[in-house]
């Protein structure tokens, strides 16, 4: 392969017909893809290679050899087929869907409409559970089952009572004997709850639901409980009419993408115009919404879903570790604060994963190896070279470990499948019943890494997968089961957190490994794939036209907010039938 030594860090040949990281770049038909490779001549391609490839190549690339980029471009150009890539069309559009609100979205939506509720409010818990691989907000997983229906009703009725007790308008009407105020409140609020105006029939049915109430308070409680229990509240509609989202559906999609919450009255008013919204209007509206501080929290949720750090609250850990609920909570908050800083700082959307600043308090100080004594989380800078950003954060490390060990295999599998979007496939023949080799070394004086290799990974047929899994886990070995930095394990055994991973490159330690991941094209592409899947609530394969378009759009993107801007393309309002 031309310039293999320079380029293999990213464009490694998998010997299976695929080029990790390089697949897109080597897809010469992609040159006509206007968004990323606006190359119509070899010279333009050379310029693109020089500009786009060099910064990513640690120790390689075309930075020093002036013939590199032109020669590479000429070589690739020779393979260019006289075929143009088909741009995403209506058939490639996301599918028409109903998307049930998540627990978090309900918690944000109700106060956004009715004002703050008491801290002790008990919110619906659909018990959806956290998926380790893929997104937690996939539309086809979020359902309302029998138990869910019972839970929603049981939760929404007290919430309705709380609204009537805390919202002045509702409280005044509840205490009144006038029925007029019921109709006034219904007209003002029902369309906010259902995110669109009610039809005449719907208004009539809603009025009928509380018409037999003994008094206003009971009527309002019935009305609110019905509105909040109804499928038209619980499910966001992205069904569309004639293959196109309605204006209200667009407003709702924007609001839940940018705010993780419901469209405001102003946004609903914007959607009320009679003509279909056009792209320029949608882009302008999104820009307005991105200025709202709620956007930071919404983007934070994307990163949390990608890294699954919420699970630090519940991951089983050995009692001996004293990994208390308050430490877990503080670690998650620490990670969230760090994410917010990066998001608000307009960092590159991949740079959000890196950095030497961490929020630490007395509760978490020992885990970070710091000496903070304050109860509140404060931003500190840890020694460079030890801990690098979110991928080395204790919340991340403790989420991805076993109950008492670092969990090389767990971390390796998660890195491959979730961080790099490399599906490991099924175990090979014989793997299921393969007994470990007997231990011939002293386990107390041997690293877990070496033990894993000696007893399991190096033998056939296990090696087939562990060749890929283990190097993706070794790079986190500087961090123990709850994310404490370490250079030795078992008291005396030196830690070796170095390694080399296809498509990522060689690394010397955990901080270095995190940086190599962040710089790698496979992770960048995977972030794009995962985030877009979350935004459209549908698992999208790497080969999806939507993903390719999105990745191309992100080539020019910089900030986390660009993740949202990139989703508005010419097909943003299009939906295909299932």
């Amino acid at each position: 392969m031309l310039f293999a030594a320079k380029c293999n860090g990213c464009h490694v040949d998998q010997n299976n017909g695929q080029f990790n990281a390089g697949f897109r770049a080597f897809n010469v038909n992609g040159f006509t893809n206007a968004t990323a490779y606006a190359a119509t001549t070899p010279e333009m391609l050379a310029a693109f290679i020089q500009a786009a490839m060099a910064p990513r190549a640690a120790g390689g690339g075309c930075t020093t050899d002036p013939t590199c980029a032109p020669n590479l471009a000429a070589y690739l150009w020779s393979y260019k087929l006289p075929v143009s890539i088909t741009q995403c069309g209506p058939a490639d559009a996301p599918k028409s869907k109903l998307r049930r609100l998540t627990d978090k979205q309900i918690q944000l939506t109700v106060p956004a409409i009715f004002g703050p509720l008491p801290a002790e409010t008990v919110w619906p818990n659909f018990n959806d559970g956290a998926k380790l691989i893929g997104g937690n907000t996939m539309a086809d997983r979020l359902l309302v089952t029998d138990l869910g229906a019972e839970m929603v009703y049981s939760a929404m009725r007290p919430i309705a009572q709380a609204i009537i007790a805390t919202n002045q308008e509702w409280a005044a009407c509840g205490a009144s004997t006038s029925v007029t105020c019921r109709a006034t409140l219904q007209a003002a609020y029902a369309k906010q709850v259902w995110r669109r105006p009610l039809t005449v029939a719907e208004n009539t049915a809603l009025t009928a639901s509380h018409s037999s109430a003994a008094n206003n308070s009971e009527a309002l409680e019935t009305m609110l409980t019905a509105l909040l229990t109804d499928a038209r509240f619980l499910f966001r509609s992205e069904i569309g009419v004639n293959g196109r989202l309605t204006n209200y559906e667009i407003a709702t999609l924007l609001a839940y993408s940018a705010w993780n919450s419901t469209p405001s009255p102003a946004v609903l008013a914007w959607a009320a115009q009679p003509n279909p919204l056009v792209k320029s209007q949608i882009v302008a509206q999104l820009e307005t919404m991105l200025a709202d501080p709620r956007t930071t929290a919404a983007i934070r949720e994307l990163y949390k879903d990608f890294t699954k750090i919420d699970l630090v609250l519940t991951r089983p850990k050995s009692d001996a570790l004293a990994f208390t609920p308050s430490i877990r909570r503080d670690l998650l908050t620490s990670a969230e604060l760090g994410l917010d800083d990066s998001i608000n700082g307009e960092d590159d959307f991949m740079s959000v994963f890196q950095g030497g600043a961490f929020y630490v308090n007395a509760n978490t100080s020992a885990i970070f190896g710091a000496d903070e004594t304050a109860p509140e989380l404060r931003k500190i800078y840890l020694p460079p070279g030890e801990r690098n950003g979110l991928l080395n954060h204790p919340a991340f490390m403790a989420t991805h470990s076993t109950s008492s060990t670092s969990g090389i295999v767990k971390r390796g599998v998660f890195t491959n499948e979730q961080i790099l979007c490399r599906f490991l496939g099924t175990p090979p023949p014989g793997a299921a019943t393969s007994d470990p080799d007997p231990i011939t070394v002293d386990p107390a004086l041997t690293s877990e890494r070496v033990l894993l290799q000696l007893t399991h990974s190096a033998k056939m047929p296990c090696a087939g997968c562990h060749f890929q899994i283990d190097p993706a886990g070794f790079g986190f070995e500087n961090f123990d089961v709850i994310g404490r930095y370490r250079t030795v394990e078992k008291g005396v055994v030196p830690i070796d957190a170095s390694g080399s991973l296809d498509g990522v490159g060689s690394y010397a330690n955990s901080a270095d490994y995190a940086q190599m991941l962040i710089w790698s094209l496979p992770m960048r592409d995977c972030v794009a794939q995962r985030f877009l899947s979350t935004l459209v609530a549908e698992e999208l394969p790497a080969t999806s036209c939507l993903v390719t378009d999105y990745q191309d759009a992100l080539e020019a993107a910089k900030t986390p907010k660009d993740l949202l801007r990139a989703m508005i393309n010419d097909n943003f309002t299009t939906r295909s039938a299932m």
């Binding site: 380790l132 038209r232 060990t405 014989g430 698992e539």
Partner: protein, 439 residues
């Protein structure tokens, strides 16, 4: 002359055609009472067959056998037990656990499918689960509980599916289950009026666009849920005393006893005839899968022993609960299974343990014939297109594959379903119906 059932049984016993114990059990079995069925799915199975290193200890007769040390608590209720050693389930290569979760109670996961919209590692069934069929027949909601039955991919594994492959919900904490199933609150007039107003509205949602079949299914499930909730909130709930604690935040291990107590109470009160209990890594073992998956370790058998103790106690509690002329156990069938048979991923000869009354003819150790390698092709199952795989890949399970059972999981569940009142000629995928297991 028309003779009643009791006199027939007594005369058979007097003629020596039935043992005294068997006759007693048959007499206790109330023909008119509903047959309750409990399915217990244990992560990594019960280890009773397949590649287990603790085998059942037989003597010369079919009834002279004993559970191994790892399942020793079962020996004290052995007279209520029939062991099936073992049954063919799946044989497709891949992660045996992930492939089996949705197949355990359905026998309906096609060959070659390894993922679904629910999870990238877990295929779904194309046929309903046996508990759903029993629930539909009885017209009573099944009790479905999970005590930490999960793996690394998803937090809880669904086990039950309707005829349109919709997963059936289950409680994940005993406290929530108790509050939902056994709360004794009586709805006031105001409560009933509000419920009437709310449910009257929410059962008829409308959307601007036309819903596809998949999206309509979500709304259908929602409406069904609201209909069930309406019935619940409108009805007076019978308060039942439960002896096992069900407190929010208690461990999953404690939850198991609470779940079993709720199942006993549910069967005894007639609130339900069917229950499903999933049990997972409730011991919080480090490297749970590695400890349990590839070897029959001491840890594996210690945990089996703990679970066997709980089930044995449950069997005893049913035996002590009066029902009709006999005990609740007489009209109950308990099926113990798992996504794999034991620590070595056994799917070709997966062991099952049954407890119950005379319907299962207890006391037996049933060993279906094994199929020689020349017959393996006939044991395959349908792929998604209905076609059959050519043969089993023996390489997946290594050398020495000689353990393919001639009877299947579907055969057992079909028979159990029919013993409980169904009238099934086929269950699960058509290919999986080979013949009788229990008779």
């Amino acid at each position: 002359m028309k003779r009643n059932r009791r006199s027939i049984i007594k005369s058979l016993a007097a003629a020596g055609a039935l043992t005294a114990m068997r006759a007693e059990e048959l007499l206790a079995q109330t023909q008119t009472a509903p047959v309750n069925v409990l399915f217990v799915a244990l992560a990594h199975g019960w280890g009773v067959a397949g590649g287990s290193n603790q085998q059942i200890a037989p003597d010369a007769s079919q009834f002279g056998w004993a559970f191994p040390a790892g399942l020793s608590p079962f020996n004290r209720v052995r007279q209520h037990c029939t062991v099936v050693d073992g049954l063919m389930t799946m044989f497709h290569g891949g992660n045996a656990h992930d492939l089996s979760y949705a197949d355990m109670l359905t026998c309906g996961v096609p060959m070659g499918v390894e993922s679904s919209a629910y999870d990238s590692h877990m295929p779904m069934s194309t046929t309903p689960s046996i508990d759903w069929l029993l629930q539909q027949r009885a017209g009573k909601q099944a009790f479905r509980f999970s005590a930490g039955y999960y793996s690394w991919g998803v937090p809880y594994h669904p086990l039950s599916f309707s005829s349109n492959a919709t997963l059936q919900p289950f409680y994940t904490s005993a406290a929530a289950a108790k509050a939902s199933l056994f709360s004794g609150a009586q709805a006031s007039t105001v409560d009933q009026r509000i419920a009437q107003g709310v449910f009257g509205l929410v059962k008829a949602p409308t959307f601007a666009g036309a819903l596809s079949a998949t999206e309509q299914a979500k709304i259908t499930q929602y409406v069904a849920g609201m209909t069930a909730a309406e019935q619940k909130f409108a009805a007076a709930v019978t308060s039942v005393n439960l002896t096992a604690p069900a407190v929010a935040g208690q461990s999953s291990m404690t939850d198991i006893a609470a779940y079993l107590e709720m199942i006993r109470a549910g069967f005894a009160s007639g609130k339900t005839d069917t229950a499903v209990l999933g049990i997972g890594d409730v011991h919080n073992i480090d490297k749970f899968h590695e400890t349990h998956a590839h070897f029959n370790t001491a840890t594996y058998w210690q945990t089996r022993n703990d679970f066997a103790e709980k089930i044995a106690a449950f069997v005893e509690s049913l035996a002590e609960t009066p029902s009709g002329d006999g005990s609740l156990l007489d009209n109950t069938i308990i099926v113990l299974t798992g996504e794999v048979g034991d620590g070595t991923h056994t799917l070709f000869k997966k062991g099952h343990i049954l407890f119950g009354g005379a319907r299962i003819n207890p006391g037996r150790w049933v060993q279906p014939a094994l199929v020689p390698s020349s017959g393996w092709a006939a044991m395959t199952r349908e792929n998604v297109n209905g076609g059959m795989s050519a043969t089993i890949n023996p390489g997946f399970f290594g050398p020495g594959l000689d353990k393919v059972s001639s009877r299947t999981n579907a055969d057992l569940l079909r028979e159990v379903g029919n013993l409980a009142g169904l009238n099934l000629t086929q269950f699960g995928l058509a290919s999986q119906n080979k013949g009788s297991v229990l008779s």
